[in-house]
């Protein structure tokens, strides 16, 4: 499976609820970030958790976010960042 995004692409994390096991932290949903690197293809933890070992693989990315855009009233430096690993089906293209 090829990766839809490249390093440097602007993305937004999907805002949706997910019933059951998921590796997308709630605090990062809906936030805008930049792809830092492609990590490779991995099986989907949302399926693995329920015993589906042979499901399709999905591209995993490290996405970098500015802390001041993630937390209201962030107390640190305006350049501080947080990197989060996110699977492709949680990412949407962000213009600009």
């Amino acid at each position: 499976m090829s990766a839809r995004f490249e390093p440097g692409n602007h993305v937004r994390v999907a805002t949706r609820d997910h019933f059951g096991h998921v590796r997308t932290p709630r605090y990062i949903r809906g936030k805008r970030g930049t792809v830092e690197r492609i990590c490779g293809d991995f099986r989907n933890p949302e399926e693995l958790a329920y015993g589906r070992w042979d499901g399709d693989t999905v591209a995993l990315y490290r996405v970098r976010f500015l802390q001041r855009e993630v937390w209201d009233g962030y107390a640190g430096d305006s350049a501080d960042t947080i990197d989060v690993e996110l699977y492709e089906h949680w990412l949407e293209t962000e213009e600009g």
Binding site: T24, Y27, C39, P45, R62, Q67, T81, D83, E85, L86
Partner: protein, 193 residues
């Protein structure tokens, strides 16, 4: 904590024992295999990470390979990382890195062994992402003005290790002399050397 197995009074321990004994009774695994996995886990200590960091300090080409592909670079040193991928991030005068797993307690066991209890605490996991500078200050790390903090939340299949800055006054040190200077906490990002 004393490691007595005479009383199993916690639900998770009870479940672990029941599950393990069921697997052994059905011939899926053996007790010897369980014992050897536990031995492997305890053999892994931060000294492994110290070897990696010391090599990165003395060998710029290795450092570059480590930053580009952590898993492949540590295999050069004979350290097997398993199916997970290792990502090394380096501290510089411009940026300080901090590792956390907000969702559970993912940790680079292949390089650092078992995680400290505080790494698994709700307080660390929630505060390290939201107020990393306050958490660092509580660990005694006071960052210079203008230094960026980069937090890494290991949410999925990557595992992270920080390459701390080489301590001042160690210019003449050999790789072997540098290795024991590298602490566990410095490789998580809550200590500067």
């Amino acid at each position: 904590m004393s490691a007595t197995h005479e009383h199993v009074d916690r639900t998770d321990e009870f479940l672990e024992r029941a599950f393990r004994e069921a697997l052994i009774a059905r011939g899926v695994i053996t007790q010897d295999e369980v014992d050897s996995w536990i031995d492997v886990m305890y053999e892994r200590t931060p000294a492994l990470g110290g070897r990696v960091v010391a090599r990165a300090w003395v060998d710029p080409a290795f450092r570059s390979r480590l930053l580009a592909d952590g898993s492949a670079a540590v295999r050069e040193l004979g350290i097997e990382v398993g199916p997970l991928k290792l990502v090394a991030v380096e501290n510089t005068p411009e940026a300080h890195n901090l590792i956390v797993c907000t969702l559970c307690s993912c940790y680079p066991k292949m390089l650092l062994g078992l995680p400290p209890d505080w790494y698994k605490s709700i307080a660390y996991r929630s505060r390290a992402v939201r107020e990393p500078r306050a958490v660092l200050a509580e660990f005694g790390v006071h960052l210079a003005e203008g230094r960026t903090v980069r937090v890494h939340d290991s949410t999925a299949d990557m595992r992270y290790v920080v390459i701390p800055m080489r301590p001042a006054g160690t210019d003449g040190f050999s790789e072997e002399q540098l290795q024991p200077l590298v602490t566990r906490d410095s490789m998580i990002g809550v200590e500067e050397l």
